[in-house]
């Protein structure tokens, strides 16, 4: 089957300029032309490839700034890609910036004609669909009034109705369910489903993973301009929800990688999560890298709280590199009351015996909000250490142990019988 939209290796670079880049000749003359050059470039989209066939709906999930709208614009031929290609078969319809092109002094009828023709119809085609557009928008009695007399809901309905009646072969939709009331939303949804059945390829942006799961044949999760997950909507939406639910991630600020005092690199959203209201500045393991099985391990945690934080919980978990959690202990479970903390401080965990088997382990260290709502700072798989045992065994534990063999007496056997 011939594709409707094919995107190959799409990349879009944005340039950030000086905040005080001159916007007029006057300023440019005063400032000199040096500020005209961008200070920074970043990829708003990179390596994005996908294909949508007629009758298929692709849902795009992602947080604000992930590049969803940029992607939709490029597919719509608005703006120019720096890398890769977009190929589209058929006329594109768009439910983007609904009603932005309307003029408040013109009547509803005049606006329908302008936006219908702007969307690619001829005047005759608009005229032929006019009654249908009107009926769908439920605005028959207002259509010859100036648009400024319409409520914003009425304007949205008219804009949606016009856009949806342009018979597109490819439809681009940005968060359409914010249109009008619930009844109208249901109608919009039904109309979109019908277009899809008629063979229209649809690309839908949504914040709602549920919506994507219900409507789409395929889903894509964009993260920082790149495809983070692509495939079955159930799977992608599931992953998306799982991540979004975690309050911690939402609160994790963007911040360049930084080093602990001992020289371990911390990268936000990679090995470091949390709101950073309390920061763990340094974590020292003693002994540093290799422990004898059954030996002691001390973990010193240095922290900094800029503002007072009430009753935070510190936690350490030790896990095997395969993922098995061997020890998980917190100040809360051990009923260590911590009052409010502020400024620099240190807290230590002394493990007298670490009876683990030979292997590579991580100490994951975190400090959490008093009700476990989210993490202030959590360093995941950042502090590795190895355990060496003199005994060869299977399993994860290697406590001191011995076998004792005693003689089984014949009386006991006979008694038993």
């Amino acid at each position: 089957m011939r594709y409707a939209v094919k995107v190959e290796g799409l990349g879009k670079r944005f340039r950030r300029f000086h905040g005080d880049r001159p916007l007029t000749f006057q300023e440019a003359v005063v400032a000199g032309l040096r500020r005209m050059t961008p200070v920074e470039e970043f990829w708003a989209l990179r390596d994005v490839s996908f294909t949508v066939f007629p009758g298929e709906m692709l849902g795009i999930l992602g947080q604000n700034g992930a590049g969803k709208s940029t992607l939709l614009q490029l597919v719509g031929g608005v703006g120019r890609a720096d890398e890769g290609k977009v190929k589209v078969n058929g006329q594109i319809g768009a439910l983007l910036d609904l009603g932005a092109g309307f003029h408040s002094d013109l009547t509803g009828r005049e606006n329908v004609f302008v936006s219908g023709v702007v969307a690619g119809l001829t005047r005759r085609e608009v005229a032929r669909r006019f009654d249908e557009i009107l009926a769908f928008a439920e605005l028959e009695s207002f259509i010859d009034n100036p648009l400024r007399t319409y409520s914003s809901g009425m304007q949205m309905r008219l804009a949606f109705s016009t856009a949806i009646h342009t018979d597109p072969q490819v439809l681009l939709v940005d968060e359409f369910l914010s249109v009008g009331d619930i009844a109208f939303q249901a109608k919009c949804l039904e109309r979109i489903t019908r277009l899809k059945k008629e063979g229209c390829a649809i690309i839908l942006i949504s914040h709602s993973a549920e919506q994507i799961e219900q409507l789409c044949d395929r889903a894509m999760w964009l993260k920082a301009g790149q495809i983070f997950a692509y495939g079955e909507p159930e799977v992608v939406a599931g992953q998306y929800v799982a991540e979004m639910r975690s309050e911690t991630r939402k609160r994790t600020p963007v911040r360049p990688p930084q080093m602990t005092r001992s020289g371990v690199e911390l990268r936000v959203n990679d090995n470091r999560f949390g709101s950073l209201e309390v920061e763990i500045l340094d974590v020292r393991l003693t002994p540093a890298t290799e422990i004898k099985s059954g030996g002691a391990l001390r973990i010193d945690i240095e922290y900094l709280a800029e503002r007072p934080i009430a009753a935070p919980i510190f936690g350490v978990s030790i896990s095997h590199k395969d993922g098995l959690v061997c020890l998980d202990t917190t100040t809360a479970t051990m009923s260590i009351p911590l009052s409010s903390i502020q400024g620099h401080g240190q807290i230590s965990l002394q493990i007298d015996r670490l009876d683990l088997n030979t292997g590579d382990y991580f100490a994951d260290v975190g400090v959490y909000e008093q009700d476990w709502k989210y993490a202030y700072d959590y360093h995941w798989h950042t502090y590795p250490f190895a355990v060496k045992s003199s005994i060869q065994t299977q399993g994860s534990l290697c406590p001191p142990h011995r076998w004792e063999v005693s003689k089984v007496t014949s009386d006991l056997i006979s008694k038993h019988y």
């Binding site: 007029t24 932005a100 003029h103 013109l106 023709v117 702007v118 690619g120 119809l121």
Partner: protein, 263 residues
């Protein structure tokens, strides 16, 4: 030029014409609705200008130009079309973000819409010019049939100038103000209310570097003097316009792309 020919090649020419029609009539309707006198303003403005020039150059500082009303009014109509189109088209990218963000919208049509709207105003005022010509006792000659050629040439020239201007306005938002000042100067340097024969001979060749001088002279040639225009000069002007057009168009496309990407 590729995308310029692209919009005709898509086989959607009738759609493009409808688009032009809708956008021009939108502009006209907005103009009607915004001002109480609506379209009358497009006539009142040059008439007032004419009255002032007639007062100054017939009574205060008399100049010896026969049929002065027809002479000045023809010049003013031609100039006003040029000036208002150029001035308004300079803002077409920055003022039409919603249209530019519409997938599939041919951005290049926007300056054409502005110049077309100006042409319609020109045509609406044309009967008044004809009346002045009749009052001044000038015979309408077959030379008037060259009018569409001049209109077309002025149309292309204006569009080809608006492309780069609208593009520059994306980077420097005061382009329109500067253009206003420059047009004001050019207004006096174009023989609208005086005759080019008043200009010293050695400066006349410099004068003809201004394309509006060529156009205004040609309009008067066919309407007042009843003679065909100077084709060779018009030929050069056409070539120059056609040479600027693709370059300006390319800059225009690039800047309009850049503009929609800016947040």
């Amino acid at each position: 030029m590729k995308s310029l020919s692209g919009w005709f090649a898509k086989g959607r020419l009738s759609q493009q014409i409808d688009l032009l029609h809708e956008l021009v009539s939108r502009d006209m309707k907005i103009l009607y609705k915004r001002s109480m006198m609506g379209i009358a303003w497009t006539l009142i403005n040059p008439l007032l200008q004419l009255a002032v020039f007639a007062f100054i150059f017939q009574i205060v500082l008399p100049v010896n130009i026969p049929r002065y009303s027809s002479f000045v009014f023809s010049g003013l109509l031609v100039w006003n079309w040029f000036q208002s189109s150029l001035f308004q088209a300079t803002g077409v990218i920055t003022n039409n973000r919603p249209l530019i963000r519409q997938p599939g919208f041919p951005v290049s049509i926007l300056p054409v819409v502005t110049v077309m709207t100006g042409l319609i105003h020109f045509c609406l005022a044309l009967p008044i010019l004809i009346i002045f010509i009749a009052i001044d006792g000038i015979a309408i000659t077959p030379a008037l049939m060259y009018l569409p050629v001049l209109l077309l040439l002025q149309f292309v020239l204006t569009v080809s100038l608006t492309y780069p201007l609208a593009a520059v306005n994306v980077s420097f938002r005061d382009t329109q103000h500067i253009l206003g000042v420059l047009l004001q100067l050019l207004f006096y340097l174009t023989p609208l209310f005086y005759d080019i024969s008043h200009v010293p001979d050695r400066l006349q060749s410099v004068y003809y570097l201004n394309p509006m001088v060529i156009l205004v002279e040609s309009y008067r040639q066919i309407m007042i003097h009843g003679m065909p225009p100077n084709w060779s000069v018009l030929g050069i002007l056409s070539l120059v316009s056609l040479a600027i057009l693709p370059i300006g168009h390319r800059i225009f496309k690039r800047q309009s792309n850049r503009f929609v990407e800016e947040l």
